[in-house]
């Protein structure tokens, strides 16, 4: 089975793994927004210290994190030059009509930093939270929307099933691709259009089989007494512990520090 590119769960028992998913998701949201409130050097230092500590505590292999960061390399690359060349200010280096300014350089570096921080924080969440906990957390956090008649529990169920079938379908794609290659199909050469067209013999059987699977799964769910999610209870209940309280306080402390440092 080929590995998923970003944010696959890395099983473990670190402090971050043991935190309640709701706390982790809340903290992630806060940490994704807070870089935009940071302007001075000390703010960045505080934020970086926090994130680096979190990464070290998580016990996630740094290689995995770097691989995730590599996926945004081209976006970062583009952003860097965009900010570098388009920010007006005090020129450092001029090449004809294009000038690199001091402000531009700082803005470019700050943008890259923010992007990397965003990706790091988001992948920390998915690295340390199993798909079940992620869906449970999402379900719990969205549950107020049930009053607005949003079918939150059904959505969580759909998400769980989707997650459940990712590896199954991946395996099947591999198998069909091999079968087609054995009959002389070529997925590697030719222009993008040609290659895209060559994928048709993989995706048609995958779709057919996915529909058959969905049908069989629906029957199996019926047989196991599934009706609307309103009748259901859950085996696993999320409970906040002292660790979760501590983490919440620390994140709040960070937010105040960063705002105070400006």
């Amino acid at each position: 089975m080929s590995a998923l590119p970003i944010g696959m769960y890395v099983p473990g028992n670190s402090i971050l793994h043991r935190l309640d998913p709701r706390v982790k998701m809340g903290a992630t949201l806060v940490l994704m927004m807070i870089p935009f409130a940071v302007h001075g050097l000390w703010g960045y230092v505080a934020l970086s210290t926090f994130v680096v500590t979190a990464v070290l505590l998580s016990g996630v292999p740094l290689g995995a994190l770097l691989r995730t960061l590599r996926t945004v390399f081209w976006i970062a690359f583009l952003m860097f030059f965009l900010y570098l060349f388009t920010t007006p200010g005090e020129p450092l280096l001029a090449l004809g009509s294009i000038a690199i300014t001091r402000q531009g350089l700082l803005a470019a570096v700050a943008q890259i930093y923010r992007l990397c921080l965003l990706v790091t924080v988001a992948s920390l969440l998915t690295f340390t939270t199993s798909p079940i906990h992620l869906t449970h957390g999402l379900e719990a956090m969205l549950s107020p929307l049930e009053r607005a008649r949003l079918p939150v529990r059904e959505l969580a169920m759909v998400l769980t099933i989707a997650l459940r079938f990712v590896p199954t379908l991946q395996e099947e794609i591999d198998k069909i691709a091999k079968a087609q290659r054995a009959r002389g199909a070529d997925f590697r050469t030719g222009g993008p259009l040609r290659r895209a067209r060559n994928l048709v013999p993989i995706f048609v059987p995958i779709f057919v089989s996915a529909f058959r699977r969905a049908d069989e799964l629906a029957t199996a769910m019926d047989a196991r007494g599934f009706r609307s999610a309103l009748h259901r209870t859950r085996m696993r209940k999320l409970r906040l512990g002292s660790l979760d309280l501590l983490a919440t306080l620390i994140v709040m402390g960070l937010v105040l520090t960063v705002i105070w440092l400006g």
Binding site: E216, R224, H231
Partner: protein
């Protein structure tokens, strides 16, 4: 006392689309007549095998036992509850569990224990009770050590055991197995069949095993044979297998050991009736 399963003159016609599990006989107007008047009773605790060629109506019959399908005509009673009464559906589905052919397509969750919990969660039980049932069910199929595993890391046989545990967690009286071993390797097949036999013998669970394998049918106390929507034979394996020519005409081959025993008898070797397993043969000859 009434038998656990009672089927009276059951007829079923698929509406004019092709049923997902295929098969069946095409009638007029594109309709598929799958069952043409089936009568059957099964007592609590029986181990019954159901065989028959493709399209003979085995799966359609099975789906009537937990109200996945409702009779076009006739009636099905499970533990005295008529499946066609809408308010009986959930009780019937709790009493009769089902395990299907493809283990991948009946697992809904991303870990073993979450999947086994699906049935009890649907019943709206409190969390502690669900936990208790999940542990019991996983212990019964010998998968307690795998509770945290994602399903894709299990073998086909183990996945099928998860599906069995999932059915068990609802505490059913009966489990219907719809060709549970046809996609498994020999090891997985053995695991699943041993588990089915044990659940019947030790937990007293009524078993209806639909199968293409005559050797599997030989495990049962009673064998049913279907053809074109009708029940054509019903008896202990030894009696049903005596009609080898009729079975072969249906495309059903006798288990090799039964076939050999019958040929030896035809040659004039005085073998006792009812040789079903290699062990029986050894006992008869030595």
């Amino acid at each position: 006392m009434r038998p656990f399963i009672e089927i009276e003159n059951l007829k079923y016609v698929y509406p004019s689309f092709i049923p997902p599990h295929a098969g069946g006989q095409r009638g007029g107007g594109g309709q598929i007549v799958a069952l043409r008047g089936v009568n059957l009773t099964i007592e609590q605790g029986e181990f019954v095998a159901l065989i028959g060629p493709n399209g003979s109506g085995k799966s359609t019959l099975a789906r009537h036992l937990n109200a996945l399908l409702l009779p076009t005509a006739g009636a099905v009673w499970i533990d005295g509850l008529r499946t066609s009464d809408a308010h009986n559906v959930w009780a019937v589905r709790q009493k009769v569990g089902m395990v299907f052919q493809n283990p991948d397509n009946q697992i809904v969750a991303t870990t073993v224990e979450e999947d086994v919990a699906f049935g009890p969660e649907n019943m709206g039980l409190p969390a502690d009770e669900i936990r208790h049932r999940v542990d019991d069910a996983l212990a019964a199929v010998g998968l307690l050590d795998y509770r945290q595993y994602p399903p894709q890391m299990l073998s086909g046989g183990q996945k099928q055991l998860v599906a069995i545990a999932g059915a068990l967690a609802a505490r059913p009286s009966c489990i219907v197995f719809d060709e549970p071993t046809s996609m498994l390797d020999p090891v997985g097949r053995r695991q699943v069949l041993d588990t089915i036999r044990r659940l019947n013998a030790e937990e007293g669970i009524t078993v209806l095993l639909i199968t293409h394998s005559m050797s599997e049918a030989a495990m049962a106390q009673r064998v049913l044979v279907m053809e074109a929507g009708r029940m054509v034979m019903d008896g202990p394996p030894a009696i049903v297998f005596e009609r080898g020519a009729r079975l072969r005409a249906l495309g059903l081959d006798l288990p090799p050991i039964v076939d050999i025993a019958q040929r030896l008898q035809a040659w004039g070797l005085p073998l006792p009736q009812g040789v079903l397993t290699v062990q029986d043969m050894v006992d008869a000859l030595c």
